[in-house]
Amino acid sequence: MTTAPINKVMPLSLVDGPGNRSTIFFQGCNLACAYCHNPETQNQCHHCGICVSGCPSGALTKADGRVNWDPEVCVQCDQCIHVCSSNASPKVRHLTPEEIFEEIQKNLPFIRGITVSGGESTLYPHFIKELFTIARAHGLTCLIDSNGTTDLTSYPALLALCEGVMLDVKAWDQQTYQKITGGLTNAVVKKNLHHLACCNKLEEIRIVCLPGEVDAEAVISGIAETIGENVTDVKLKLITFRSNGVNGRLQNTPSPDDTYMQQLLQQAYELGFEKAVIVS
């Protein structure tokens, strides 16, 4: 049976996507963005056991070289996440699509759909395809939140099942991209951008804005060039960098000021992004 590592299933989301949705966070990401807000979703636990002794509730135990987590006992203090130096979490469950859907079903009739997020959900394309098939059979719409590093042109069936992709475009210049994400190349992201726009599956584009680290101006004009006339329809979110939750070299970096964000918004408007917004 296929399972995937799941960090958590959130019953509701007032912010992401059209309408109210349940969000499934996968564990594990192929990037390591310097501004990541939930770095504990980046890596798989390697069972070193460091977090076990600090758990106040006894939810963590170590047996046969594996760290086990008991969700019934856990008090969600996140102590384990704070002490883990591997950007992992012991609170990950390996679930099948059916098991995930059992949890989601409890949220009906209050949601209109589901969103897969991460980590990076597209590292498990076959798995999300199965999950989407079940969700659609229950009348739910499906969205993918992705960093765009999986070549989605290879998964037409998956795209057919989903309403659209919310795509992070993290940088335009290759070196800038490497520095902020730790990834090798953003060529696939650009390819996805073009492909999703062509097949009308570009639900939203996100740029986390931090001058000096992210070439947001180039990203905005690069996207406009790539997606052509789709600029008027696509939602563009200019996200103001915030340091809360961030680990590592940017953890004390201040947010860009309002003037800068407004300049970006202005640029986006001028390039025809009618649905551009600043997320503060």
Binding site: L12, L14, N20, P109, F110, I111, R112
Partner: protein, 498 residues
Amino acid sequence: MSQVLDMVTSQKLTYEQKVMSLAHAAEDTLSVLNIPEKTRYYFEINAIDDLYEGSAPYRPRYIMPDYEHLLTNGSEFLRIEPPEDIDELLNSLMIFYKHVPSITGFPVYLGNIDKLIEPFLDGVSDKKAKKKLRLFLNYLDRTITDSFCHANIGPEATRAGKLILELEKELQNAVPNFTLKYDPAITPDDYAELAVHASLYCANPAFCNHHIHQKTYPTDYGISSCYNILPIGGGAHTLSRITLPGLANVATSTEQFLYELLPDCLEALGGYMNERIRFLVEQSGFFESSFLVKEGFIDANNFIGMLGITGLAECTNILMGENEKRYGHDSEADDLAEQIMKVISNFAAQFPAKYSNISGGQLMLHAQVGMDYDIGITSGVRIPVSDELENIYDHLRHSARFHREITTGCGDIFPIETTGRNNPSAILDIVKGAFSLGSKYMSFYEENSDLVRITGYLVKRSEMEKYRDEQVVLQNTTQLGTSNYDHNHLKDRKVRGV
């Protein structure tokens, strides 16, 4: 008499508030109601409450005039011709409202306001219409100095409704309350989303399950005061309540409560309500003398008696005793609560209520939202503040279950994280889900909003600050709201979001 002198010399009451308090004190010197010994006992143990309705009823508690009638016929008594343009309409309404009595001394129902205004907007630009409506709305807020006042919009989308929503966001008025009669089959999503969005700025409008409520009466319904669902062209003679925890406190066992005490107390309450209705209809002279009756704005046959219920949560918890199973959290407790509700609704179904034709001669149940003096008694059938269910869906499923028996007003209030403003469609999805399960009424306000919903009415936090600071405040509901907010720790209401 010293109480009267206190009113006269108070420096915390406006002139208008003094006059009303004095009138109330005068009414209470009368004892015209025949109240049996047993009923007095239930009053004493705080199991029955007349909700400050006064001891000699001389007007129905809530009046729901048929304002459409004003549009077609004008009023002879008030010397108003049927209005022909928007200025005449708004002016006629302003005059008329002044003459609609109620328990609060102010009109509790202002009509399906968007429907009244819409036909007069033809040829009036948005800008012009907004200017006129702004003046109108501010007039209402500054002269109806009591938040138990309600106007309705929907379920259809109208230009008038849209302009009102836009203005409310800007004006931040506590009066009137607005309710959107919401039916996903009729109300367009973008209109309902506009309403959600507005409510996250000004706590208005609230959402009423139109699909369910439209079947309440043979005539159209309106939402008045602290969300009472009442027939238009009539209203409520009276609202008295059973304060369930007061009764549970004297119970010797759960069985004795369910099968002896509760039926006996309900009998006493029903008798008391009938006695109020009798005096109002047969002796007070209201229905004989009011121009509202004579000119057909209301009809004596369209009034009902509302039997209020409050504190179901605490009552259940008292009866559950020491075993720590509690209302909202344990199925055993909820099953008991449902049994209590069944006893009450069975009582209402068979008790003959006087002068209540439109409800088939029955009292109708209402989730009474509480009084300023209630301490440790949760509104209606709500789950107590700070004991709310972690998962909002579970909370709403619970609401739907306990809203079922209550026909004339029952709702929940949710503070929402500021980020909710970015995606009103998410909140609308939750409303749709809740309504499809049978939840009857929902309202929202943004977590830091100046305007907050107390039990059903709105008060400004800034005004409460002034009142705590011993200053005179314009709206008397600020006084009620402040004690309620403090006594019931409303600032601790669970904020919903993510």
